[in-house]
């Protein structure tokens, strides 16, 4: 965190000054470790074993927050008789189809739940049907659970004693029973003593009086089991009662500024604003099907129709009317996986002919840079909007493939348009950070030269296209012709007003700007560009720009910017009170039931209907939020409960299971199933894989960032003051590995994978530590990934070493754990480089 989020790390330091214990778990000893009380070095890719060990510690010693677990989680839910756990099937769950590497998830459901028709819908539907299978997996449906889990067909039967052998609690206990401290040591390389110390610290610091927070970054997400990493942390935090309470939670530190914003109002193929799923061509023929299949009938997603209709009104205004399904047909449709890597494959196959790169440098920043560049070289046109002339715009001129002769500039047909972009200081707008806080930034200066804001680019591009299509009678052009596309422009560059866009996002009804998403309707009388952002401009005031200093308000600081939804700072905060509505403890008091005034109150905005009594019991047949009881805090879930076990929505298992990274130097200590059976591979010539336990690629490597540089480097390698701080690409190795391979500090090393070989200067450091894993020593090579051929600070790109192999839920590549070889000296040039890699590949496969 100190490396990639130094500004946010000030709060960790403040917590430390106030007595918090800081534990850092990371393959490397980083600047974060330097300031932590404890650093646990674990093997890259072994986190589920570590976290599973903590879950086992809690369950085996009955250290869970039992009242919280009983009341607020699905611990007592009884599972189907035909469900089989990895304990029964040696690393697989029931329903696995080995031919298609996919699960049929029907056996993962709650018992009897399928007998319950979704209340209100009038039709019986198998729970999970819309939450599994090819369509679900390829379109990354799991990502739409950014605000609440998958919908299930009804509330589960709960065994309050937690003794039923098929209840979640017992299944969980059995599932994690083999994740003992000894297994953790064997898999992760963390000594038993240190593991116990951490386990005791975490559990001692959880309960009524205390809470523990987990903070992660892409070190958890960049794995073939990335979503399950977060799930394991969720189980631990839920068992310990650390969700919905001050000082608890699982905090995802995002990759860069406003990445949270880019999933809320997404730049992803599979989502519409507010985590509404992008409709699917073969499932969603009309608004009714769309809403029925994806809305939970109970919980706040039960109002999905209002959110969707208001969005359609924002898109198509007066043209969106009840008689035409509010122009639902105008929305694009999915037919499969259109994610980044699938798109690159489509480029290689000639299907994708044009590409926009906006603030993205895949030639350096994405896994398997060669595959990225070969894709770019096979386009008709490419638009690059960036602050600097990045490698993804110049690959045709000086990319690594030009040097090796794999590509020749004269033979590349891609027409590249480079359009300089305005920096954040040169335009107004908002950032949404990891805690869902929208923070407004005002324009400080005009952008230089031809540089323009993204708003400018898209608004004027749309304006010109609309002008060109104005007279078209083609039905396909109607969605563009009918778009609401009138934003006031301002300043010398005719920049669209960012405030007006925020106003459209906030939405309006018959009486002006909306104040809360609960005001949204499905009759077309309200318009809202993103339902979770509704209220950011309540009363026409830009709350994202609120900046009352912390010293002038209480500790919740509600007057600093605006958090979605409803300016709530802690989600599911009904859980900060006990089932009766009283705070679990005075020390951790946040939101509670005020009996005298008959409403929820407290320091934060209650994440609950303000006047729903704690003893409210939903009547038979209730739907949407009315189906959520007064003691069920998880209001976005169809059953109102936190899920220790996920009955629907995940592609690779209802419970997290330790699988080895796809390219691992060791066997799986826990099951004979080596890697995630549902992992997503990508088959193309430039994406060869290593066999597991390869002697040719004996070392683990992991990629990461340094505080001195920014992601793929376009914003930092080009600036003299930042370039000089980390002036070139380097790798980090332990003194032991240096001795084993003859590497010298400040000398050169060549790092080789089946994809390519790169060279790096060597830092020999005791911060890298050989680990004892599966009875042998495992060395790890550290590779910061910021470098490329352009800019002032230059070097080979670490991501060129990676293959593309992905998590099946969200299509995220395994960038944090793979295997390699490392030898002293610089890499060969030209054709010799290809020959070296070919030789390695042959030996690995032989």
């Amino acid at each position: 965190m100190a490396e990639a989020h130094p500004v946010g790390f000030q709060w960790v330091m403040e917590a430390k000054a106030r007595g918090a214990k800081i534990i850092h778990v990371d393959p490397r000893f980083t600047r974060t470790s330097a300031l932590a009380h404890t650093h646990a070095a674990l093997r890259a890719g072994s986190d589920i074993a570590f976290l599973g060990g903590l879950v086992n510690h809690v369950l085996a010693n009955e250290l869970d927050f039992r009242e919280y677990v009983l009341a607020y989680t699905n611990a007592g839910a009884v599972l189907r008789e035909d469900f089989r756990d990895t304990e029964d099937l040696d690393g697989l769950f029931s329903g696995y189809d080995p031919e298609h590497h996919q699960y049929d998830v029907s056996t993962w459901a709650y018992e009897d739940a399928e007998a319950l028709p979704p209340a209100g819908s009038g039709e019986a539907e198998l729970p999970g049907e819309q939450h599994s299978g090819e369509g679900h997996q390829s379109t990354a449906r799991a990502e739409s659970y950014g605000s609440g889990g998958a919908s299930v067909g009804g509330k589960p039967r709960i065994d309050e004693t937690l003794q039923h052998p098929r209840c979640v609690y017992q299944v969980l206990k059995r599932h994690f029973s083999r994740y003992t401290p000894e297994v953790v040591a064997d898999v992760c390389g963390i000594p038993v003593g240190q593991f116990r110390e951490i386990a005791e610290a975490v559990t001692a610091n959880s309960g009524r009086e205390r809470t523990t927070a987990w903070v992660y970054s892409v070190g958890w997400t960049h794995h073939t089991v990335g979503a399950q990493y977060i799930r394991t942390a969720s189980i631990l935090q839920t068992l310990l009662g650390n969700i919905g309470r001050p000082g608890g939670g699982i905090l995802a530190l995002r990759g860069h500024a406003s990445i949270q914003g880019s999933t809320d109002i997404p730049t992803l193929f599979n989502l519409l604003p507010g985590y509404l799923p992008m409709p699917h061509a073969h499932q969603h023929f009309g608004l009714d099907e769309y809403v029925t299949t994806d809305a939970g009938s109970t919980g706040f997603w039960g109002n999905m129709r209002s959110y969707a209709v208001s969005l359609l009104k924002a898109y198509w205004g007066e043209h969106a009317q009840p008689h035409n399904d509010f122009r639902f047909d105008h929305l694009p449709r999915l037919t499969g996986d259109h994610g980044t890597y699938a798109t690159v494959k489509a480029q290689l196959e000639g299907e994708c002919r044009g590409y926009f790169l906006v603030g993205e440098n895949p030639a350096v920043g994405s896994a398997n840079g060669k595959m990225q560049r070969l894709g770019l070289a096979n386009l008709d046109w490419l638009v690059v909007r960036d602050l600097q002339m990045i490698e993804s715009a110049t690959f045709w001129q000086d990319g690594p493939e030009i040097e090796t002769g794999e590509l020749a500039g004269s033979e590349i047909g891609t027409e590249v348009f480079f359009l300089p972009a305005a920096a954040h200081t040169e335009k107004a707008g908002s950032f949404t950070n990891t805690q869902r806080l929208l923070q407004w930034h005002h324009q400080a200066v005009e952008p230089p030269g031809d540089a323009r804001s993204d708003l400018w680019f898209y608004y004027h591009l749309g304006r010109i296209i609309r002008e060109k299509l104005a007279d078209s009678t083609e039905p396909r052009d109607l969605p563009v012709q009918e778009l609401t596309w009138s934003y006031p422009t301002e300043g010398p560059t005719a920049d669209p007003s960012a405030e007006s866009v925020l106003a459209e996002i906030n939405g309006h009804g018959p009486s002006g700007p909306l104040a809360a998403y609960t005001q949204l309707t499905d009759d077309g009388s309200t318009s809202c560009g993103c339902w979770i952002y509704c209220g950011v401009r309540a009363d026409g005031h830009n709350h994202a720009a609120d900046r009352t200093p912390g010293s002038e308000q209480d500790w919740v600081a509600a007057k600093w910017a605006w958090a979605w939804p409803a300016n709530r700072r802690i989600l599911y905060n009904r859980a900060s009170a006990d089932p009766d509505g009283k705070p679990w403890s005075e020390r951790k008091n946040l939101v509670y039931w005020d009996e005298e005034n008959d409403r929820w109150t407290g320091a934060d905005v209650p994440d609950f209907e303000a006047t729903k009594r704690p003893d409210y019991v939903p009547p038979e047949g209730a739907r949407a939020q009315d189906a959520i009881g007064g003691a069920e805090p998880f209001i976005m879930q169809t059953d109102g409960r936190a899920w220790l076990y996920v009955p629907a929505g995940l592609a690779d298992g209802p419970l997290p299971t330790h699988y080895e990274p796809f390219e691992s130097p060791v066997d799986n200590a826990l099951y004979s199933q080596q890697a995630n059976p549902a992992r997503q591979t990508l088959s193309t010539a430039s994406n060869p894989y290593h066999p597991a336990r390869s002697a040719v690629f004996p070392y683990v490597f992991t990629t990461y960032r340094l505080t001195e540089h920014h992601t793929a480097g376009g914003m930092s390698r080009t600036l003299p003051y930042l370039a000089e701080l980390q002036p070139e690409f380097f790798c980090e190795v332990s003194p032991e590995l240096a001795a084993e391979r003859g590497l010298e500090n400040r000398g050169w090393a060549t790092v080789i994978s089946a994809r390519t070989a790169i060279e790096a200067r060597v830092l020999v450091t005791s911060r890298m530590k050989p680990l004892q894993v599966r009875g042998r020593v495992v060395h790890q090579v550290g590779l910061p990934y910021h470098w490329g051929t352009n800019g002032l600070s230059r070097g080979d790109a670490a991501n060129d070493l990676l293959s593309v192999v992905m998590d099946p839920n969200v299509h995220i590549q395994e960038a944090k754990a793979a295997t390699c070889d490392i030898v002293p000296g610089r890499r060969p040039r030209g054709r010799d480089l290809l020959a070296l890699v070919e030789d390695y590949r042959r030996r690995a496969d032989g």
Partner: protein, 273 residues
């Protein structure tokens, strides 16, 4: 120490126990003061590629890696600051000390170096003639001549910002408040309290450096909280202003001169006889 009237002496307290080595201070300093960039060079000394303070580096973050001591030796450092392995990675942002008795200022023949109303020591670029006397006069090796230019440069304590009521750029940019700016007297009190708190928390090696007005430079305007011996961070353990003995030397010279004069008088007197 000179009398600054109602303006109290301002200083830096750099608490290295919370430094995360982000180098924001180095960058903010260069941005604000327009300090030239340096030649790119990977030094191979942990994450430090700045190397030392100089004409083009007015802030410098040192990175000290202290591997675990093997062979059953007691591990280095206090338990507070080390992981399982006993490994420590110390980081510290160094800067001109703005000494109470500043050697650079003492030897400057042009008056380019002067003491400001804030008690800080500043080189005036338009007066410096590049004689370089200040360079060896600094006991910390801070001030340096810029080769391309010939004149001497160092931290100005952001004199231009101070005049506008702003804190220096490095302190402003420091995310963890490792670099603290304020009235020196108050900072010294705060620092003493911080050392006590760290000692209580088991960090027995915490100590202050440069805070003592009776040291060889009369105390620093920029002082530090360290977690090890000063030498570990590259600080001289007992800095002495080289002009320390100048007053005595002048006294002796004066006495000698007086002696010579006396002898002359005597000789003249003698001649009269």
């Amino acid at each position: 120490m000179a009398d600054y009237g109602t303006q109290p002496r301002m200083g830096f307290f750099t608490d290295t126990s919370v430094c995360i080595g982000c180098k924001a201070c180095e960058v903010a300093c260069k941005e604000w003061n327009g300090v030239p960039g340096r030649e790119l060079d990977l030094l191979g000394t942990s994450y430090d590629n700045t190397g030392d303070l100089g004409a083009d580096a007015w802030r410098h973050v040192a990175f000290v890696e202290q591997p675990a001591v093997e062979l059953g030796m007691p591990s280095v450092g206090a338990p507070e600051q080390q992981g399982e392995s006993g490994m420590r990675w110390l980081m510290s942002s160094d800067v001109c000390k703005h000494c109470t008795h500043a050697g650079c200022l003492d030897v400057c023949p042009t008056g380019s170096l002067f003491r400001t109303e804030f008690g800080t020591v500043v080189v005036q670029e338009d007066i410096c003639n590049g004689c370089g006397y200040c360079v060896p006069a600094c006991p910390y090796g801070v001030i340096e001549k810029r080769e391309s230019d010939g004149r001497a440069f160092k931290c100005t304590f952001c004199y231009d910002r101070l005049g506008e009521g702003l804190e220096p750029a490095c302190a402003k940019a420091c995310p963890t408040d490792s670099i603290q700016f304020g009235e020196l007297d108050e900072l010294r009190e705060r620092a003493a309290g911080r050392v006590d708190a760290l000692h209580e928390a088991g960090v027995s090696q915490a100590r202050l450096y440069g805070d003592d007005p009776s040291d060889g430079v009369g105390g620093d305007g920029a002082f530090f909280l360290l977690l090890d011996e000063p030498e570990v961070y590259g600080f001289p353990p007992d800095p002495q202003v080289p002009t320390k003995h100048l007053p005595q030397m002048w006294k002796r010279a004066a006495a000698a001169a007086a002696g010579v004069a006396g002898t002359l008088v005597v000789s003249f007197l003698g001649r009269r006889r």
